[in-house]
């Protein structure tokens, strides 16, 4: 339960359909039709010299939302507050109404995986995450959201389902959720998660926005690569979500093997077609 006096983040106003801003496709993004907003990886930005093409979007009134990938908020070791402060600075510099990272850990025992790794779904791990998120919220100073990740492996002895874990997280911290339907698809394929049950059980009233991305199957596992086209099955999951809630925003993520502008525009249009009903 959220304790009286705790800030429960307001769900943002409508964002529409957006795309993950990456330097490699900055000119494409500027001219693509149907880009209502962008999200940018906070770690790639320095507030003293923000990319001109990104600032130009912001000047056109296109919301630019920062997204962290390195806070490692599920780490049992103390939060690296310099990373949180950087996220806060970027958020301030962009005038963004919210900031975010992931339900995961990245670092432990002196090692940095460079990747988002799953947490044990135990009360103990949830307690740690909740404390870390509360500290983060007190530093970023804007509504904070957390995203479900794609996992290839699971910890033994889970006490909660992923949906229960996310529900308790939002209840105890007042944070928002980013639901990545491609990650949900990956977890359905690789871990046997029931996507419909997941969508039924997570607090969709806390939804900030949705991520959509492409991936590929290799050696019997689905890999969320952000370097391949969005699968029809992922768009179907977006439709499943849309049948339950009208998401404030949906964002396409593409991080490598960039396709033509036409293909990107096609994926954005396909997303819009699913959510515009």
């Amino acid at each position: 339960m959220v304790v009286a006096g705790d800030a429960v983040a307001e769900v943002p106003g409508p964002l529409g359909v957006g795309i993950g801003w990456r330097e490699e496709i900055d000119l494409s993004i500027a001219r693509l039709p149907g880009v209502d907003w962008v999200e940018v990886v906070a770690e790639n930005l320095h507030t003293e010299h923000l990319p001109e093409t990104l600032l130009a979007l912001a000047e056109r009134g296109i919301p630019v939302l920062p997204h962290g990938v390195s806070l490692s908020l599920g780490s049992a070791e103390p939060v690296d507050t310099r990373r949180v402060e950087h996220l806060a600075e970027v958020t301030g510099a962009l005038g963004a109404p919210m900031a975010s990272d992931h339900v995961c850990f990245v670092r432990a025992g002196g090692l940095d995986s460079g990747h988002l790794l799953p947490l044990p779904r135990t009360r103990e791990a949830l307690d740690v995450l909740v404390d870390n998120v509360k500290l983060t919220q007190s530093i970023v100073g804007v509504p904070f959201a957390l995203e479900n990740i794609a996992a290839l492996l699971e910890w033994p002895d889970a006490e909660l389902t992923e949906a229960q874990f996310l529900r308790e997280l939002t209840e105890r911290t007042g944070c928002l959720l980013i639901v990545d339907v491609a990650n949900l698809y990956a977890n359905a394929r690789n871990l046997g998660v029931d996507p419909a049950a997941f969508l039924d059980e997570i607090p969709l009233e806390r939804l900030a926005y949705v991520h959509v991305a492409g991936g590929i199957e290799r050696d019997g596992l689905y890999h969320d690569t952000h370097a391949h086209p969005v699968l029809p099955e992922v768009l179907e999951l977006l439709g499943e979500l849309r049948s339950r809630v009208d998401p404030p925003g949906v964002l396409l993520e593409r991080d490598d093997d960039y396709p033509t502008d036409t293909e990107l525009a096609g994926e954005l249009a396909a997303i819009r077609a699913v959510v515009t009903r």
Binding site: F105, R107, L111, D112, S113, G114, E154, P156
Partner: protein, 116 residues
């Protein structure tokens, strides 16, 4: 031991298994640990090649093989930034005689890049 301390140990063990050839902690699916090892190494290699295209170019087909040999004995330590990690691989190649040391270097936002 507090819950936080216990979790810290478990997370450290898992990362050691994934990144530094450590033993697989009990209860984990060994095939999935192996798959995750490959994913993490591939991602780190990709980032290294992105930040140091000169290394990728000079090593050609041997880039992946040499990087993989390097990676397991040199897991990326906390606090090491991606470009430092990539540069450390470059230095390792020089130390092993796989690459010649650059005559001079110039500064770039992505790290020291050998002048061409």
């Amino acid at each position: 031991m507090t819950g936080r301390e216990r979790l810290a140990e478990q997370q450290a063990e898992l990362l050691k298994a994934l990144l530094a050839g450590g033993e697989i902690p009990p209860g984990f699916d060994e095939d999935r640990i192996r798959a995750e090892r490959i994913v993490l190494r591939t991602k780190r290699r990709w980032v290294t090649g992105f930040l140091r295209p000169d290394l990728r170019r000079e090593l050609g087909a041997r880039f992946a093989e040499l990087f993989d040999a390097y990676a397991v004995t040199h897991p990326r330590a906390e606090g090491v930034r991606a470009h430092q990690d990539a540069d450390a691989f470059g230095q390792w190649l020089i130390d092993r005689g796989e690459l010649k040391a650059p005559k001079k270097a110039r500064w770039s936002p992505l790290g020291w890049i050998a002048s061409r």
